[in-house]
Each structure stands twice: as C-alpha cells, then as structure tokens.
Symmetry: C2
Subunit: 308 residues, 2 copies
C-alpha cells in the first residue's frame, strides 16, 4: 500500500511512524547516535524507514528536528551536533521520487495537534509544551508560522521576570521555561519548601518532581499549591503576552506537566484573564491529545498537505 | 473617475482620502463629534464622503476605527462611545453598491505601511507606533492578523516589568506603552532628572516632551541618554518577545517618537539582539514612511484587495 513516514528526531531517540493516509499503522523507535557531530543520524533514519516500509510504497517523508528550520533548510541544531545545511536535498538524493517535508519538531507537533488533536477545530492556536523545557508552535489562519529564522513559537523564551533572577540554558535570564517547565516547578519547589510545613519535605531531592508537586497540590498541600500558583502565574503572564501579539483562538497545552490535566487548565484560564488586555476574550484552553506521537502525526500530515 | 475612499476615525478628528487606484488625490479632515455616544459620527463620515466624491464614482470605502474589529464587526470602541455592532451592514445600507472594509485603525495603518511604506518588501512584519500610547499591527504571510477578538498587535500592552510599577490606562500594570510611548519617556525623564545635572532641568514641566529628551540625548546630555536607554531597553525587550512568538522579518517603527529617526533605530536594533533568543537573526528595523496618512492609505488598499 501507499504510505508516508513521519519521523521525529530527538536528542535521545528517534521516533518513526508509518501512515496509511491519516492512520498510524506501525511505529518504531531507535537511539539517536550523536557521535561525530551527528553524521550517522540520517543514515540510521534511512535504514529505519526502509525497515518500516516492508512491502509498502513510500510516497512521502515528513521529518521533525530539534532546531530552527526555514523552508526545509536547517539553520543549526546544536542538540544533534548539526550545523546549517539543506537537509531536504540530502533526503531527496536518497529518495528521489518521494515528497519530503522537514520541520522544526515543535512545529511538527503543532501540526499534529491541529490536524488530529487538541487544536483540531482552530484556525489559529498556539501549542505550548511543558516538559523539561517549554516549547511551542504557532498556527495562524490554518498556516504554520515558522518565522524568518525559524524561531516563531519559542514560547519558552518569553521573558516573564526582571532582574536576572533565573538563568536559562539559552544564555539569557528569566525565560518562561525557567518557571513553567517541569524543571522550573522543581526549582520553585526547592525555594519555597525550605523551613516550611509541607509534605514536599517528606521526599528526597531525587523524588521531588513536577508531578509530585502537582499531586500534593491536588491533595491540598499549601506549599505545593503555592508552587503551582507561581508556575501558573508566570505561564498565564507569558500566554497573555502571546495573546497581545496574535490573539489566537486557543492555547493547547501539552508535555509531561500537562498530565496535571484539567486542574492545571482551570487555574491557567482563570489567571490568564487577570493579565490579558481587556479586549481579549473567547480564548480557549485545551489539553493536547497526542502525547509524544504529535510529532510523527504532524510530520506525516505536513508531507501530505504541503500547503499547511 | 472610479475611486475609493479611505477613512481613519480617531478620537479627535476623522481623516478621509480619495484615491484613484493607489494614488491619493484629495484629503479631508473633520472633527469627531462624540456627543450622544458617537451617534452622529457615521452620518458625518457619509456627508464628508459625498462631498469628497465630487463627480467621481465610488467603488469602495475602507474605514479604520480605534477599537477591536473582527470580520468587519466592531467589538466595542470606548473612545468613540460605541458598543458592539455590525458597522459594515450599516455602511452597506447607505452605499449598497459599494465594497466596504472595516478595520481596526492600527491594522489599517499596518496595511498602509505594508502596501506603500516602510513594510513594503516584507511578507511578515510588525508595525509599532510610538505615540501618546504604543500601538501596532501584525502581518504574517502577507495577511493581516486580526485575532479572534480583534486584539492581535496590541504591542503596547506587553508586560515589560514586574511588580506593578507603572499603572496603565488599560487597568493593568507595567505595559510597554508606559515606558516606550511619548508619555512613558516623559515619566522616565521626570524620574531620572531629579537632583541631576541635566539640561532637562532647564525646561518647565510643560516643555519636557519626548522630542526634547531625544534632542538633548543626541546632543550628549547624560541624563537624557539614560532616559532614552531605558525606553530602548523596554522596547527592545518587548520586541524580542514578539520575535519569540512570530519571528517576523521586520519591525517598522512609526508614531511621533519615531521622528527621532535612525538614532532610535540603531539603538533599538543593537539592544534587541541582546534580548533575543539565540536563533533569532536577520530581523530588520525600519522607520515607517506614511506618517498619519498610513490609515487612509491602508483602509483604501484593503477595500480594493479584500484578500489581505
């Protein structure tokens, strides 16, 4: 049968999915070999694709990579050891008769959630992934916004504090991801639990995770609730800023931290309106639905619908 | 001859322009009569249009209003005393054979600068108007972004400080417009000049304007330079945030404060990169070119090119 393959290259592993039309029929996962500036990665991907194909006929490859991409050109990808190059032409040389689409990984996930998941009915929405870091992607008028240097949707690097309080991995300070990521929640928890009466202190440093904090907050632990409120506070501030720029129909919240579910969504929506400009209204807040398969769904969709 | 009319309704006056194609051939300005919740405004506009027409044949009316607009519906306009209503249908009833396009005024100016002015060669750019307040508009992929409740491009209400330092007219605190508008520059000047050796102190309260501060800064007055640097600092922070959301090709800077010219642009561009996420590159900074005619140019263009 005719198929497309969606590939999501991460710093640790590479996820692949074979699709018959919109249907994911087979998945594969391989390790990311970052040796020698990532020079083996694409060959590993090609091998995995060929194995995944079996007797099917390959019509398209959609690929998400963890770095900025503009019009199918990678502008650099430190995480894999890659510099700036025309990845689309390299894949095209290997698969000359096949349609190719290369995207930033967060953008691939955004298209996935828009085509199949939490962003399904929206022509304009922003995906916000709350994981180890905070990522995102932006759709406006049913089109993905990549940005002139592939940096649209870098929601994690909005500045939500002043005074160089928390240093970010990007080299600057006070980025949203230092407050609203799983890592950020733990930093805040470690600041607020000192000398306080909280169940957080019953756990070892290694056991204190964003999930634990949210679970304790749901049980009513006061300090855990303060930690969650501080996270919500910064996230709401960041998203109100996004709304002042493009005023999307919805924010779709994904990533590990979003497993806190409706508890998080309800608090976020309420706080958002306390920061939003008064003409901002009707903004929906939804949970993402595809988990870590959003990337392969979106990459596969994008190669079949190049107009996105 | 066939013509279109561009109308820019402001809180103080209403500007009208008659266009043969792209050419502005006649202008008119009338006072905004805000009596009785602005009920006379549209009739005044209709009279002015009829007078402006002379023997020309009216093909389209483009109209910018100072409030949020979505798909030709006004969602409210406190400045004129207007509530939520379908303005397009009312104009259509008066001019049944004529194309109508109603836009937010900042969005009309954005289309004007994009079609004829400082944003001309860009498919994605943000207009930032530094006047009494700070306004703006967003184009992505050669389309205007209005937002679900007409609030895209509200650049003046990005939060660029923490701690409820400066209250904004919008009811919230620490909005960009409290720092980067002409008003904001004067507030900062009055904070920084106290007890300092600066030429600013040679002027009366009424004489201290944003223009004066920029002029003194260009002459090397140290305190004036500090005031300008603080303004640039907050503006650069705000625009770096905009870039993290949509990463536009350019920022086009207009409004009265932009008369400081290349002096302002050079400082802004330099500071911008100190805040911008490291993958953001190639962002242009340009001066707006149409002054207070951007609105009538844009409104007239938009009615002739409804696809914008």
């Amino acid at each position: 049968m005719k198929c497309t393959v969606g590939v999501d290259i991460g710093g640790t592993d590479i996820k692949l999915g074979k699709f018959y039309g919109d249907e994911l029929v087979k998945e594969m996962r391989i390790k990311t070999n970052k040796a020698d500036k990532g020079k083996y990665i694409l060959d590993d991907v090609f091998k995995a694709i060929d194995e995944l194909l079996e007797k099917d006929e390959l019509e398209g490859i959609g690929l998400g990579i963890p770095g900025p991409v503009v019009d199918g050109h990678i502008l650099g990808c430190e995480n894999l050891g890659w510099g700036r190059f025309d990845i689309t032409s390299i894949i095209k040389a290997k698969y000359p008769k096949v349609k190719i689409k290369v995207l930033n990984d967060a953008n691939a996930a955004t298209i996935g959630e828009w085509a199949y998941g939490g962003g399904k009915k929206y022509s304009s929405f922003v995906l916000v992934t709350l994981g180890t870091g905070v990522g995102g992607g932006v759709m406006v008028g049913n089109h993905l916004v990549e940005g002139v240097s592939g940096s649209a949707g870098e929601i994690g690097h909005l500045k939500v504090n002043i005074g160089n309080v928390r240093k970010c991995a990007c080299g600057l300070f006070d980025c949203l991801e230092q407050y609203a990521s799983a890592t950020g929640v733990v930093i805040t928890a470690n600041e607020l639990r000192i000398g306080r009466n909280t169940k957080i202190n019953d756990y070892s440093d290694e056991e204190i995770t964003s999930k634990l904090v949210f679970d304790l907050a749901k049980e009513g632990d006061e300090v855990a609730l303060e930690v969650v409120d501080e996270m919500i506070h910064k996230l709401a501030l960041g998203l109100s800023i996004v709304s002042s720029v493009i005023n999307p129909e919805a924010f779709v919240i994904g990533g590990g931290v979003s497993k806190a579910g409706q508890f998080l969504i309800d608090k976020l929506e309420k706080k958002f309106y306390s920061y939003a400009f008064y003409t901002i209204e009707n903004t929906d807040f939804k949970l993402a639905e595809l988990g870590n398969k959003a990337g392969i769904y979106g990459a596969s969709y994008a190669v079949r619908h190049q107009e996105v």
